[in-house]
């Protein structure tokens, strides 16, 4: 029988702790596929954040470091500066990357740090129980914005991909979604390209992935996928914001 589908070698055979309908599992798979396809498993080091994906190291067959909240880009910088011929990536959520770790991500991009960042944006703090994130939409209800995020009080969501695309050190910045087979296929390409940017020494690369949190959004998995399209995408448009091969997009 011909094998047409299998677990990527870099993805561990372990039950993941993510909630039903959460898209972390898909994003993990995309990372593992990119690492496998480029033949990098033996020389890749991942850095996990504080948040839902804190235990990401249990789900990859790769060397992994767990970083303090928001500091994954700094930890990745240390790893990469000691081991410039290895591949280093961080896997971070929106609270970790865009709130407490805002300084670290901006400066890693500005330095053109040759690391790859997988940024999972689900517009909420998942692990701690659904608090407002820097990417929470105006009007979105969370446990710390029970009346909906009010811009007079809590301002506006941060568009990370657009912001970092102004950095000369950034080689590749894209925003993708994982809500349909087509969008997953495009996300897969973006992930490959981001790792390729690092392999070729072009500079900093980041893929922002619009993700779901049915548990804390109070939706079914299917409703959550729809909400990404109808509510998140108008605020966080998909696209390639910077690409070293074509110049600033």
């Amino acid at each position: 029988m011909r094998k047409i589908f299998e677990r990527p070698k870099s993805l561990a055979e372990a039950a993941q702790h993510y909630c039903p309908g959460c898209t972390h599992g898909i994003v993990h798979r995309l990372v593992a596929e990119a690492v496998d396809e480029l033949g990098l498993a033996g020389r890749t080091i991942g850095v996990s954040p504080v948040g839902c994906s804190v235990f990401a190291y249990n789900y990859f067959n790769l060397d992994f470091v767990q970083a303090a909240h928001g500091r994954a880009p700094a930890v990745a910088t240390g790893l990469k500066r000691v081991l410039p011929d290895r591949v280093v990536f961080t896997y971070q959520g929106d609270g970790d990357l865009a709130s407490i770790g805002a300084a670290e991500i901006v400066h890693a991009a500005a330095r053109g740090e040759k690391i790859t960042v997988v940024f999972v944006n689900n517009a909420i703090y998942g692990m701690t129980g659904g608090q407002m994130a820097p990417t929470t939409l105006v009007g979105q209800k969370t446990t710390t914005s029970p009346y909906g995020r009010q811009q007079e009080v809590a301002g506006y969501p941060i568009r990370v991909a657009e912001m970092l695309s102004t950095m000369e050190g950034a080689a590749y910045i894209a925003r993708v979604a994982v809500i349909s087979p087509q969008s997953v296929a495009r996300a897969r390409k973006a992930m490959l390209k981001a790792f390729t940017a690092q392999l070729e020494g072009k500079g900093f690369s980041l893929v922002e992935v619009l993700s779901t949190c049915p548990t804390n959004w109070g939706m079914t998995p299917v409703e959550a996928l729809k909400w990404v399209e109808t509510a998140m995408m108008p605020v966080f448009p998909l696209g390639v914001f910077r690409d070293w091969e074509v110049g600033e997009a």
Partner: protein, 359 residues
């Protein structure tokens, strides 16, 4: 030993680190330690190393964390307010059992404080500093030569115990120049680091993490760390007893203050009062054994500090009620003068009368 040269303390620390095989430095500007990162920014590229100015002390210590995970010999330096910012990272280093050397050129606090020399980070340095049950080996050199020797040793101890090591100085030690000698021989081959995350080629993945959610396992991890600290306590405690006059009153002082204490001891001697000095070289572990050695003889201890009284707590613990413990200190960057200390010695002498003042 090699040729003798005149070096500024902060630069001597940098050269000692390089001679010890340190090839990675991550720092952030703060007075009064800037000569050290500046020196490293010149020297590290010459030896194939990496100097990186981080966006903050927080980022710098986390770069240290990453570099240590990768198996690099790595160092950072700062001064008091910056060290406060690094404490989270130091706690993570200790929790994940990672080696690193951290230099604190202490200035007066709290808050932004001043930039003049102080010893007011003693509590922070010796009680862990960050959150959780942990300790760091803390060296407190008193001369530039000793700074060189201890910095070089710090890297080996950090590797051996897989634990961060602190070196405490102050603006005086950082800025003053003294002759120093570096060893001629190359540094010993650093220990193999099979635990490092270097890519899992040909072996199962290495994971470096400090999260342990199961309370039973975290308890176990904490006691494992404590066993390691007990080994450090047994093997790494260092001190010097300076006792030219077979004294009954002992000053206790470290770093810059120990230099002033020696001058005070000579001044007191010329006034007919004989004192000695207990000089802790490791602040943690604190040299309690020095006080056991002196227990039969010492009739009083005087802790002299550039703070409002921090090490004095450890002196009391070490004296264990066997002799009264006094304190004299100035804070905020004021260095107590030998004359001030002698005045205090004379008061103590009056209080414990029956002592052996010479005619």
């Amino acid at each position: 030993m090699g040729e003798k040269m005149l070096m500024k303390g902060n630069e001597a620390i940098g050269e000692a680190a390089i001679k010890a095989g340190c090839r990675f430095f991550f720092g952030y500007p703060i007075t009064p330690q800037n000569e050290l990162p500046e020196y490293m920014s010149r020297r590290l590229p010459e030896v194939g190393g990496v100097f990186l100015q981080a966006e903050s002390e927080v980022a710098a210590i986390n770069m240290v964390y990453g570099a240590s995970c990768a198996g690099g010999r790595v160092m950072t330096s700062s001064s008091s307010p910056g060290i406060s910012l690094k404490q989270e990272g130091i706690s993570y280093l200790a929790g994940s059992e990672l080696p690193a050397v951290i230099v604190n050129i202490v200035r007066g606090g709290p808050g932004l404080g001043g930039i003049q020399p102080a010893q007011s980070d003693y509590f922070q340095a010796t009680r862990g500093g960050g959150h959780g049950d942990y300790r760091t080996l803390v060296y407190a050199p008193s001369t530039i030569q000793e700074m060189v020797d201890l910095v070089m040793m710090a890297f080996d101890k950090a590797d051996a115990y897989r634990n961060p090591v602190l070196v405490l100085g102050d603006g005086i030690l950082g800025q003053m120049m003294e002759p120093v000698e570096f060893p001629d021989e190359p540094p010993p081959e650093p220990l193999a680091k099979p635990w490092a995350t270097t890519g899992a080629e040909g072996r199962p993945p290495n994971i470096i993490s400090s999260i342990i959610l199961d309370p039973e396992l975290l308890d176990k991890h904490n006691w494992h760390l404590m066993e390691k600290y007990e080994q450090i306590r047994k093997k790494e405690t260092r001190w010097e007893i300076y006792d030219p006059y077979e004294a009954e009153i002992f000053l206790v002082a470290y770093g810059t203050m120990a230099r002033v204490a020696r001058a005070a001891i000579e001044a007191a001697h010329s006034r007919g009062i004989d004192c000695g000095l207990v000089r802790p070289i490791t602040l943690w572990p604190f040299p309690e054994r020095a006080f056991d050695e002196l227990a039969d003889r010492a009739r009083a201890y005087l802790s002299v500090e550039m703070s409002t009284g921090q090490m004095v707590d450890d002196v009391k613990i070490a004296a264990a009620g066997r002799a009264p413990v006094y304190f004299y200190g100035r804070a905020g960057g004021v260095v107590p003068s030998p004359a001030e200390i002698v005045k205090k010695i004379e008061l103590i002498f009056e209080e414990i009368k029956g002592g052996s003042k010479r005619a």
